[in-house]
Amino acid sequence: MDDIIKRNPLRSLIIAILIAVFLWLVFAPWPPELVAKWGRKQIFLNALLGGITLGALYFLVAAGFTLIFGLMRVVNLAHGSLFLLGGYLGYEIASLTGSWFIAFPVVFLVVGLLGLLMQRFIFSKMEGEELRQTLVSIGISIVLADLMLWLWGGQSYSILAPGFLTGPMELPIINSINASTGATNWLRYPAVRIWILIAAIVIGVAMWLVLNRTALGMLIRAGVDDREMLAASGVRIQLVFLAVFGFGAGLAGMAGIIGGTFQSLSPGEDTRFLLASLVVVIVGGMGSIVGAALGSLIIGVTEQMGFVYAPTYSVVFTFLIMAAVLAFRPQGLLGARR
């Protein structure tokens, strides 16, 4: 760390100043001039937190996508459909059993099983034919999208969160200070979004630990680097592929429940989340979990900030970030050159 600072003193200084300004914007009460220029602090904080929690959701979808891509070179363009399918199934299970929590393991298993079947019977048959695999995944996404439209129709569904997750919670961030009484107004934010953020962080850290600290993770990382050598050294790589594909698909399905809880489910959400995963992994770097986390955070915050401060051009910001990354670092921020 010291070394990096010594080598790039100017860049480090700029980054340190930016971080300080950002922390000040978040934690300090805003002076009236700033409020006059940018609007109330609450709007900014809401956009920021909305972006971070949206990023958490993007991460859950994109993590499976990037893992599958990194290991198997399969661009699974049906990933968004798995997300939407998980959401619809979660809605059915939650309204059938009345329990939001039961939906998670069931959806993980069902959608994960679907992923296993896809890998076992389709993608593994055409290993190495990347373009064909991608085309097949497009075909699967068309079929799944229409089947879901058939079964669940065009209206939008919302999954109800359990009681203790509904309502706002207070965060230790100053929203504003009442000028006459001097009382501090703390920021209140929907509890469910905060818990989803915490869950995403826990899942992300767990994935990182499994990948970097366990024997299975070692196999997966070795497979990402060189799957022929791994197979040659006696590992039954097809089993590793199956496990990763099933896990990635199941994760997308669970993300669907979360997406249905804090937004809504309707036809078209599948392409929206597929696009989000694509942009996230292009920005973060293909096959990298940390890259997916970073990319989700950047894209989520940019999208929400754009919605609040420049509604007509919010998509353009996301796109400009992607274009800039492609222009200057085609392998993604944390991707390895292959």
Binding site: T134, L135, I142, L275, V279, T318, L326
Partner: protein, 354 residues
């Protein structure tokens, strides 16, 4: 058509066939059928079925050119077509007078082609920074970004509702939206695009592009600028897509974000893959199958007791079947069938009858 497979033969001028003798008879038959179709077909067939086939075929052709000769599967071609269509609506006349500039056609059309080509070139320059399946992901992301942008932006693209009453200019006193003139217009443009692709594929540029597709490193070592060839291919392909896009706007008399949505972008891919991406004829065959399915699916589905909305399911399943069992599309099936028949004939005649 696959002229590049043959070594050049040197023959005497006297032995050389005249140009019309070198075109095989089935092509002449096809040309005659297409030229005289208006005599027998009604306006629904001319305008809806054939017009739409040519339009979709041209947009698919631009994808086929990039994918088949350049090895770049781009999901951007519908967006390029939409860009040209939007430019016609924005610069020319439309029902939305607040946005449309109402310039005359001889400014609007070249400007639409130019802007779409510029858009395709810039996006292509971004996309060619990566290779293979990454290209699909990036072009899909660009296409989606443009779709969401047109839906949100009201100052230029008039947001959700888009533009309606976009009519072709009354050139030479002809209403080009009448079925017969529109049929001939789209046929002429489709034939021109087809001919251009066939010509370019045999030109030095096209051969170099195919070299880049097969082995970029070797082409780079030979002194070819790989990136420039790929970007130029995007620019050239944009012309066919733009022609299709402008015709599409005139045919529907309107354009909205839904025209260039994700499903439309994927439809173009479906059309090109189902027809076959090896040869320029493929996209037109794929487009014809797609349009026929689309137009007659209510009847067919109703016959089997399904609702007419399940059209996408048929398209998806058909696409899956083609990708799984015949990756080079319907044309690939045809080639294999001919090869097998020839083999059988050879066995019967003791072989050697070439």
């Amino acid at each position: 058509m696959a002229m590049t497979d043959h070594a050049p033969r040197f023959v005497n001028r006297a032995d050389q066939k005249l140009w019309f003798e070198r075109i095989p008879a089935p092509w002449w038959a096809l040309a005659v059928v297409l030229l005289f179709l208006p005599v027998v077909a009604n306006s629904f067939w001319l305008f809806q079925v054939m017009g739409w086939t040519f339009i979709l075929g041209m947009i698919g052709l631009s994808l086929m050119f990039l994918a088949g000769y350049g090895g770049m599967v781009s999901l951007l071609q519908m967006t390029v077509a939409g860009m040209a269509g939007y430019m016609v609506a924005i610069l020319g006349n439309s029902g939305t007078v607040t946005v449309s500039l109402g310039l005359s056609w001889w400014i609007v059309l070249p400007a639409a082609f130019l802007i779409a080509a510029l858009f395709a070139t810039v996006s292509g320059a971004l996309a060619v920074r990566t290779e293979g399946i990454y290209t699909i992901m990036i072009t899909l992301a660009i296409a989606a970004a443009f779709f969401y942008f047109t839906r949100q932006n009201y100052t230029i693209f008039n947001g959700y509702s888009g533009f309606n009453l976009v009519l072709p200019p009354q050139l030479f006193g002809v209403n080009w939206r009448e079925p017969v003139p529109f049929y001939y217009l789209s046929l002429a443009l489709a034939a021109l695009s087809y001919g251009t692709v066939v010509y370019v594929s045999r030109s030095p540029f096209g051969l170099a592009l195919q070299g880049v597709r097969d082995n970029p490193r070797r082409m780079a070592a030979l002194g070819f600028n790989v990136t420039a060839h790929r970007v130029a291919a995007y620019a050239l392909a944009s012309v066919f897509a733009s022609a299709g896009g402008i015709l599409l706007v005139w045919q529907n008399a309107q354009i909205a974000p839904g025209t260039i949505g994700m499903s439309a972008a994927i439809d173009v891919l479906v059309v090109a893959v189902v027809g076959g991406m090896r040869r320029p004829l493929g996209p037109f065959i794929g487009a014809f199958i797609y349009v026929i399915l689309q137009v007659f699916s209510p009847d067919i589905l109703g016959f089997f007791g399904f609702s007419a909305e399940r059209f996408k399911l048929i398209i998806g399943l058909g696409f899956l079947a083609v990708v799984l069992f015949s990756p080079d599309g319907v044309l690939g099936l045809w080639d294999r069938w001919r090869a097998r028949r020839r083999q059988q004939q050879d066995q019967l005649s003791g072989g050697g009858a070439a």
